[in-house]
């Protein structure tokens, strides 16, 4: 068994998180670990592609596009001493997310529109990490406004970009180039890459807030 990140291990070739909770989305549970399925969770795919996040476990996280909580459940295993503000706009998957939030004590569920951060500006604190997986055309604008409201100086960002939701007719590579360009204007890009073979035409981008404005 190999430790990849805090509470994340590779156990006989299977990605798992250390967890004292039961199964949330049909994943296997064994001996204090929960299987983390890369086809279901883009963050799992990103880790299996060799990219790591430096997490201590007490981070405050703003999660945009929490859906039914598949990835949130594993992230909650990782930042077990932190807090996740999980924002989701659709009521149906949110029901499932609520079940998760009732079981864990480090998830704050918010049934709200992520494109309107001012609506939850008096609830969400300044965070160390913004995670975004919302597959919407204006997802970068949504990220920027949330970062402006909530990201700490030196805070980090992980976003998942689906080419087809940004522009369904353009070539994925072109879409990714333009997204990266937009991201570079506001953030410092740490790394990025594809999620093949787990998710087609998707990339992740790991970035950080700029500590100070560029000086020439």
């Amino acid at each position: 068994m190999r430790e990849l990140m805090r509470n994340v291990y590779l156990k006989d070739g299977t990605l798992v998180t250390k967890s004292r909770y039961g199964s949330h989305y049909g994943e296997k549970v064994f001996g204090g670990f929960r299987e983390w399925i890369p086809w279901r969770s883009k963050l799992a795919a990103m880790i299996l592609k060799g990219h790591r996040l430096k997490l201590r476990g007490d981070e405050k996280v703003l999660y945009l596009g929490a859906a039914s909580g598949t990835t949130v459940s594993h992230l909650a295993d990782i930042v077990d001493e932190g807090v996740i503000y999980a924002v989701e706009y659709a009521a149906k998957p949110f029901e499932k997310l609520l079940e998760l939030a009732r079981e864990r004590n480090n998830i704050i569920p918010l049934l709200l529109d992520a494109s309107k951060p001012w609506k939850y500006s008096g609830i969400v604190e300044k965070v160390d990490l913004i995670y975004q997986d919302i597959a919407q055309k204006n997802q970068i604008e949504i990220l920027e406004s949330n970062a402006e409201f909530f990201l700490k100086k030196g805070g980090e960002i992980v976003i998942m970009v689906k080419a087809r939701s940004i522009d369904s007719t353009a070539e994925p590579e072109e879409v990714f180039e333009s997204v990266l360009k937009k991201m570079r204007e506001k953030f410092e890009i740490i790394s990025h890459g594809t999620l093949m073979p787990y998710h087609r035409d998707h990339i992740f981008i790991h970035a950080a807030s700029r500590r100070k404005a560029k000086t020439f």
Binding site: K60, A67, A91, E95, R102, N105, I107, Y120
Partner: protein
């Protein structure tokens, strides 16, 4: 400066604690980023239990919201689609009468007709936008497959999401073509040859419309089968399954090539 926080209102000096956290939670809006950290201030006021109280409040508020949203949204779409049809009807009728009047005499009244028709068209656009937004929320997979407009029309015919998920694919395929379907059934009962419709509302989808006639039935059958799955995922799980769209696109290209 006054800041609306989930546990009360802060004027820069003191916090006026809310009497009802659920109420203040829903009103915790501020036009620009706060110059302080909510949790630090909150812990000064509420102490170590800050996160537990926040979590409890968030759970209570969202449990109520979810229940309300799920009960109402599909009926809202059904009502909007019905309204949209009536608006279309009104636009057509008024345009027709306008032509009749114009044919006889050009007068001031024709201008009022035109401006009223313009307003109705704007209303139609608004209703369409609203349908699109709600459909993306309550039926993301169906919307992904066929677009909000077609998905909403199918939902309207079915009556509600609950009823829609209980329809077989074969019914979804011909929904909207009931008249010709029952006409065909009636002929069959009398032992005559009958043409059973291949598609109803889903004919509006470009993947069916743009195929040659002989292949439309195959595509309609396939699309309806995927729609039936999409509706079930939307209703019971709510997450987007990207493989669905991919599969209908593949099938379409297969049929187009043959």
């Amino acid at each position: 400066m006054k800041y609306n926080l989930w546990f009360g209102v802060y004027d820069g000096k003191e916090v006026k604690l809310s009497e009802n956290f659920e109420e203040s939670f829903l009103k915790a809006e501020n036009p620009s980023p706060l110059p302080f950290n909510v949790s630090e201030l909150g812990m000064q006021v509420l102490g170590e239990d800050y996160y537990q109280i926040l979590r409890k409040t968030a759970l209570q508020v969202s449990e109520k919201q979810v229940e309300r949203e799920l009960r109402r949204e599909d009926r809202y779409v059904v009502a909007l689609v019905k309204a949209l049809e009536e608006i279309d009807e009104a636009i057509n009728m008024l345009s027709e009468k306008l032509m009749d009047i114009k044919a006889v005499k050009e007068s001031d009244i024709t201008e009022s007709f035109e401006s009223k028709i313009g307003e109705l068209k704007e209303l139609r656009r608004e209703v369409e936008r609203e349908i699109e937004e709600v459909m993306r929320k309550i039926a993301p997979n169906m919307t992904e497959l066929v677009g909000a407009k077609i998905a909403a029309k199918i939902l309207e015919r079915a009556g509600s999401m609950e009823r829609l998920v209980r329809l077989p694919a074969s019914k979804i395929q011909v929904i909207g073509a009931e008249k010709s379907l029952y006409k065909a059934f009636a002929r069959m009962r009398r032992g005559k040859k009958a043409k059973i419709p291949k598609h109803g509302i889903i004919f509006l989808h470009p993947f069916i419309r743009t195929l040659p006639k002989s292949k439309r039935g195959k595509m309609a059958r396939f699309l309806a089968a995927k729609l039936a799955i999409a509706a079930k995922i939307d209703y019971f799980r709510g997450e987007v399954d990207e493989s669905l769209y991919e599969s209908i696109r593949k099938r379409y290209e297969e049929l187009r090539r043959k």
